[in-house]
Symmetry: C2
């Protein structure tokens, strides 16, 4: 009856407590901000004490890093799920960017991943996380487009970073109320501009 409450393995306890803390912290960090969320509030929401927090995480920043890590993974998963496997290189990039913008509409996600994340963890740490999750598919898409000759060859790391930065800013602007149509148009124009041939526009007649 109360068998599963008594006699829980240490691994189960750790896993559950960590998950509770990350879940509570995620909620508060997205509802408010990193700076405006104190550890007392987090542990209260998680139903544990600060002792548990500092047992499982080095400090508040480490808990934040775990939240960011998980959220970045979620975003990457949503993008992967939304982008069908076989499209042209260009269409795959556009589908991916749409999926990214859609994923970033989750409340508080932009502040967590695009404002607090870089400020608290540093741009280098955020790059490391991004490269492990979100940016990977973007970079692969760009490499594929370059291989298919539908994009001029450029330094891949730099191009990935700068396009990602543009996506990020677009997500922030859209959340702030800007026209997603406008931003999407500019993003597409930026990507299409990188193709050596005239862009496969729906309006202009292709010259070949």
């Amino acid at each position: 009856m109360q068998q599963e409450l008594r006699r829980r393995s240490n691994r189960d306890r750790t896993e559950a407590t960590r998950a509770d803390l990350i879940r509570a912290a995620r909620r508060l960090f997205t509802e408010k901000s990193y700076a405006d969320t104190g550890t007392p509030e987090i542990v209260a929401a998680a139903g544990v004490t600060r002792g548990a927090l500092y047992h499982h995480f080095a400090d508040k920043q480490a808990l934040f890093a775990a939240v960011v890590e998980q959220e970045a993974a979620t975003v990457a998963a949503e993008i992967d799920r939304a982008s069908p496997a076989s499209l042209s290189a260009r269409d795959a990039l556009i589908a991916g960017s749409d999926a990214y913008l859609a994923a970033m509409r989750a409340p508080g996600r932009t502040r967590l991943l695009l404002l607090d994340g870089p400020a608290v963890l540093g741009r280098a740490a955020m790059d490391e996380i991004d490269n492990r999750h979100g940016n990977r598919s973007l970079r692969e898409g760009l490499v594929a487009a370059m291989r298919a000759r539908s994009m001029t060859k450029l330094p891949v790391e730099a191009l990935t970073a700068l396009l990602a930065a543009a996506f990020d800013r677009a997500a922030l602007a859209i959340e702030a109320g800007a026209s997603d149509k406008d931003y999407r148009a500019v993003l597409v124009a930026l990507m299409d501009g990188l193709s050596p041939a005239p862009p496969p526009s729906t309006r202009r007649a292709p010259s070949r």
Copy 2:
């Protein structure tokens, strides 16, 4: 002898104290970070007390905003100074972006303006500051390029924001040790990609 110390007008006192506080805060915010800099340290460096700080600024965040404001103005001035008046629209944009990247090499400036700024003040407030200083010349350059038909017509606000975001990320990457050559090349390619005609195949200009 001590005449100019006694009998200072209130306006002079306020001006001097505010300037001292902003200068000290700027130094510490660029050397460390907003979060790692306490008001006791700031007022000690400025040679005043916390009472003076909270008399002149609503809170620590307001002082930070004043620092950011001033720093953004400085960056804009450096760009204006470095970009000669009459170039082709394209060359003007490139000169401006080079000047921006050069200006952002000042120690701690990227963290202040690109990491802490957005996180502490919010993206909206940062946009407001940027639009008043740095982004203005960028937007005007883009409008000029579009009028000169050397750039396809696109929503100006969105284009300005996304290119500015790319510049920002480039500045961060370069400071983190990335190849400025690579990032410059990608920035130029992004801008050239927006021209309706094939990009002018000029040889690469010296990076500084």
